[in-house]
């Protein structure tokens, strides 16, 4: 057989071989990088080593946020995938649903990435599982640091941790965050996240097709985050939590001179441990509850300050010489002007009241009149000096500025003129005025400290670095005015007729002011804010009870309880 058929066969043979060579050239030259990357992805694994976060201490060196060792049961999907019988055995050993477990393994995106089957199992359970799954390929128990909060009552200050959301990653990537990282979501954990967060380490390994370690190519130690030292007293914090139990409200206890926060509590409380231990039902409750446990009322809640604001108005009046300490005004139980009738809380009125009496009895009419004498601008200026209407720059996230109104503000935002009625409301802490409990406390502390408006803070030391120096502002108040006001505030608690009698604690010289702030609906909010001892204040506090009724009642009682705890702890 010779001729054309042989030639055709020969062409055919050469054509086949040229195709093979062309295919090889395409794969091994043109696409070499693509396949090279795929091959490296195959055999190089990076096992991340989570770094422990920095420890958070209270003022006495007690750990309020710590790390414990957590045992996670992990599985290599690639290894187990081929063996359905293994999945059944594993499910039985862990008393998990077979179908569900198989589904989770099947859903694993990267079959080489270890899949956490059960996280945070106990040490004894870990050992038991290791025994039960002996001989099953691809199942191991990994250890990692787990955040733990020995004092759940400190959660309002500490905040909680959460996984990084996908849209945050691009922004945070250059700060060393990865998709697996837990970040602070509130409180100190969020505010100081960049310090607390450690640097993850990792082991770069060469693995075979079943994901088994062949050799270690590189190792990077995880670096623990920086420890932070707070001014919180875990014992006071616990007392505050217990005192607020069952109420929606907030308590802050602070050193009025320095601004050191001793306790900061928002109620209903939450337990930060629930977030890191994947306690899904509890977390869901925190998120869904209409009482909003995750909302920090102490710094983010904005309420009318009510009568607590009278301390500001009184100081404005005395300082501006609109009134003297001895001058009295008559309260007939109501105040009429331009056809409107503004009532005092006491039917029949207080009679003639000087400033001390007006504060002691929380007489509205006295302040209506004084407020009108002062005018809105003067009250605004004084309130601004006392820190209303702006953030205190406390080292916690999500602080709200409240709202300090003024005629200019009203014109701009409400497109309306400021009426005298607005001034009347303003002078008793109602109307447009909104303040956070922290602002009310700060004002009271400044009144106690002769006008020194401290900057509140929680962290005084990061690792070895002192960060306690915070510059304080001053409110221009003469010492005479301060004395008058402090005397009046003492009477609120000490005097038989004072509205804050229930805050009294034997052996402690306490001053304060109650407030009953009209809420837009429901019962009024109850306030008490005060300090002790009157002469040299060491502790100032604020209690707010949402819809708590009269400030003289429950709020004062809680304040009294906390003062007595502070006394027992040696603060007073």
């Amino acid at each position: 057989m010779k001729g054309t058929r042989a030639i055709i066969i020969s062409i055919f043979i050469h054509g086949l071989f040229i195709s093979l060579l062309a295919g090889l050239a395409y794969m091994q030259i043109v696409r070499a990088k693509y396949y090279g990357d795929l091959s490296r992805n195959n055999y190089i694994r990076v096992l991340p080593l989570e770094a422990p976060r920095g420890v958070i201490y209270d003022r006495n060196g007690v750990k309020i946020a710590d790390n414990i060792l957590s045992f996670d049961l992990v599985l290599l999907p690639r290894e187990i995938k081929a063996l359905p019988a293994d999945i059944e055995r594993l499910a039985d050993a862990l008393s998990l649903n077979r179908v569900e477990l198989a589904g989770r393994i099947a859903a694993a995106k990267n079959v080489f990435e270890p899949l956490v089957i059960k996280s945070n199992i106990g040490k004894s359970e870990a050992i038991a599982i290791e025994e039960k799954t002996a001989g099953l390929a691809g199942i191991t128990v990994n250890t990692r640091p787990l955040r733990s909060y020995p004092y759940p009552s400190a959660s309002s200050a500490l905040g909680y941790l959460g996984r990084l959301a996908e849209d945050e990653l691009p922004r945070l990537k250059r700060y060393g965050y990865t998709a697996r990282d837990l970040v602070g979501r509130s409180g100190l954990e969020e505010y100081y996240d960049s310090y607390l967060k450690g640097t993850s380490g990792g082991i770069q390994t060469e693995v075979d097709s079943r994901g088994r370690l062949r050799r270690v190519l590189g190792y990077k130690d995880p670096v623990k985050g920086k420890d932070i030292y707070t001014t919180i007293d875990a014992r006071l914090q616990k007392a505050a939590a217990e005192a607020l139990e069952g109420n929606n409200g907030a308590v802050i206890i602070m050193n009025p001179g320095s601004g050191e926060i001793l306790a900061i509590m928002s109620s209903p409380a939450y337990d930060s441990n629930a977030f890191v231990r994947s306690n899904k039902a509890t977390v869901k409750h925190y998120i869904d509850s209409k009482d909003r446990p995750l909302f920090n009322r102490a710094i983010s809640g904005e309420y009318p300050p009510g009568s607590t604001f009278k301390a500001v108005v009184a100081q404005a009046a005395l300082e501006n010489k609109k009134m003297s300490a001895d001058e009295s005004l008559e309260c007939t139980g109501a105040y009429n002007f331009s056809g409107q009738n503004f009532k005092c809380w006491k039917e029949g009125g207080h009679g003639y009241q000087n400033v001390k009496q007006a504060i002691t009895h929380s007489c509205n009419v006295y302040f209506y009149k004084v407020g009108r004498m002062l005018g809105a601008e003067a009250i605004y200026k004084e309130a601004d000096a006392f820190g209303f209407g702006r953030k205190s720059d406390i080292d916690l996230p999500y602080e709200r500025p409240g709202l300090l109104p003024s005629p200019t503000w009203k014109a701009k935002n409400k497109k309306a003129r400021w009426y005298d009625g607005d001034t009347v409301n303003f002078s008793v802490g109602q109307g447009f005025l909104l303040a956070t409990p922290l602002q009310v406390l700060r004002m009271m502390s400044a009144s106690a400290a002769g006008g020194r408006l401290a900057r509140p803070y929680l962290v005084y030391k990061i690792e070895d670095f002192d960060v306690s120096s915070r510059y304080a502002e001053t409110v221009d108040i003469s010492s005479g005015v301060t004395k008058t006001i402090k005397d009046a505030l003492r009477n609120v608690v000490a005097d038989e007729s004072g509205t804050g009698r229930k805050a009294a604690v034997t052996g402690v010289d306490i001053a304060g002011k109650t407030g009953t702030a009209q809420a837009s609906k429901g019962r009024p909010h109850a306030w008490f804010t005060g300090f002790a001892p009157v002469k040299e204040p060491k502790v100032a506090l604020v209690v707010l009870l949402e819809h708590g009724g009269k400030g003289g009642s429950n709020a004062s009682m809680i304040a009294g309880k906390l003062f007595s705890v502070a006394r027992d702890l040696g603060y007073l």
Binding site: I9, L20, A32, G36, S209
Partner: protein, 359 residues
């Protein structure tokens, strides 16, 4: 006599065979040394056995063997039936016959005996006298063993008989209409054949169309093989240094997918040289077929050439993901006794024909 025949024949064919075998042993060592030396030792043993067969064939000489063609064919049919009756099952297929501890695959030898029988049958017919009856008889010779082999099941081996018959008829010079009707019949039979396939065979064919359909199942081998070859790049990762190979990412890498190992470790340079060596080998066989004055010998050589050509091209294309995984080993390199011995027998027959051509 042996030595005379050897001296007469072209040294290029045995030389190419030896070079490819040597390269194959190096690749096999790299692919299997993690599991001990038994693969290499046994492969060497089979090469030794193959050498004995080559000597035997040269001693007997091709014409005498051609005389036994039908007997050899008949004997092989009996062996294939024996496989169905008494064969041992390995990896889900019944392909092996065991005799006192030695097992082999009669289907690998069927390729040779079918070629010998077809060559004998077609060689005896005068081209001008070729009639439909001859065509059907030739088709029967080729397809009877196919039925037995499909039962094992062995898709690759069964499919290879069809192009062998096609090329041999074409080589014989029969009317082109016979060739066309054969192709038409094959196309018509394809849908029926699809239904006869086992599920794993179907999934292999489907996976060829989309390997990512089952990245951990049937598609896994194709994906890993492509990664191995592609990541070899121009110069390869070095002998014993292929990560796909050494870290077990490549399944079946000592048998059907051994070319991927060569591609990964020796790169484009190495795999190119290997492909060109095969091309030279095939061209030598082509030359032998072409220079045969005898019709029967020429047809035998053409059949063997087709067999080797298909094994080489389909195997390499399969490792590159260009063809479905059908399980055809690559000659002289893939690990496996029956195929190695059968290939060497084929080389022996070619050498014998070549020496007779030059006599």
């Amino acid at each position: 006599m042996q030595f005379n025949t050897l001296r007469r024949s072209d040294p290029a064919l045995p030389a190419l065979t030896l070079i490819i075998m040597a390269a194959g042993l190096a690749v096999l060592y790299s692919a299997s040394h993690n599991f001990g030396s038994q693969f290499l030792v046994r492969q060497l043993l089979w090469i030794g056995l193959g050498t004995v067969f080559i000597s035997l064939i040269l001693f007997i000489n091709y014409y005498r063997i051609a005389g036994f063609s039908y007997y050899l064919y008949g004997f092989n049919i009996l062996l294939l039936i024996a496989v169905i009756l008494f064969g041992s099952v390995r990896m889900g297929a019944k392909r092996w016959l065991s005799f006192g501890g030695v097992s082999f695959q009669p289907s690998e030898f069927a390729k040779i005996t079918v070629i010998l029988a077809l060559a004998r049958y077609l060689g005896d017919i005068d081209r001008s006298d070729f009639r439909p009856g001859h065509f059907f008889a030739a088709a029967m010779i080729a397809f009877f063993p196919v039925l037995l082999i499909m039962k094992q099941p062995d898709l690759g081996t069964s499919l290879i008989f069809f192009p062998i018959l096609l090329v041999m008829l074409y080589w014989k010079g029969v009317d082109i209409r016979y060739i066309l009707s054969l192709i038409f019949m094959a196309l018509a039979a394809a849908p029926i054949g699809w239904h006869l396939l086992k599920d794993y065979q179907k999934s292999r064919l489907l996976v060829f169309i989309n390997p990512n359909m089952e990245p951990l199942g049937a598609g896994y081998t194709i994906i890993q093989s492509k990664i191995a070859i592609g990541s070899g790049g121009l110069f390869g990762k070095g002998w014993l240094a292929g990560t796909q190979n050494q870290l077990n990412f490549l399944p079946e890498r000592h048998t059907d997918f051994i070319f991927s190992v060569a591609g990964e470790e020796w790169g484009f340079m190495g795999s190119c040289i290997l492909v060109l060596l095969y091309l030279m080998f095939i061209k030598k066989v082509f030359r032998i077929a072409e220079s045969s004055s005898d019709g029967c010998a020429g047809l035998t050589a053409a059949g063997i050439m087709t067999m080797f050509l298909l094994h080489v091209v389909i195997n390499i294309a399969m490792t590159m993901g260009l063809m479905p995984v059908v399980g055809l080993p690559i000659p002289f390199i893939s690990y496996g006794g029956s195929w190695m011995v059968a290939s060497m027998i084929a080389v022996g027959i070619l050498l014998s024909i070549d020496s007779l051509n030059r006599a």
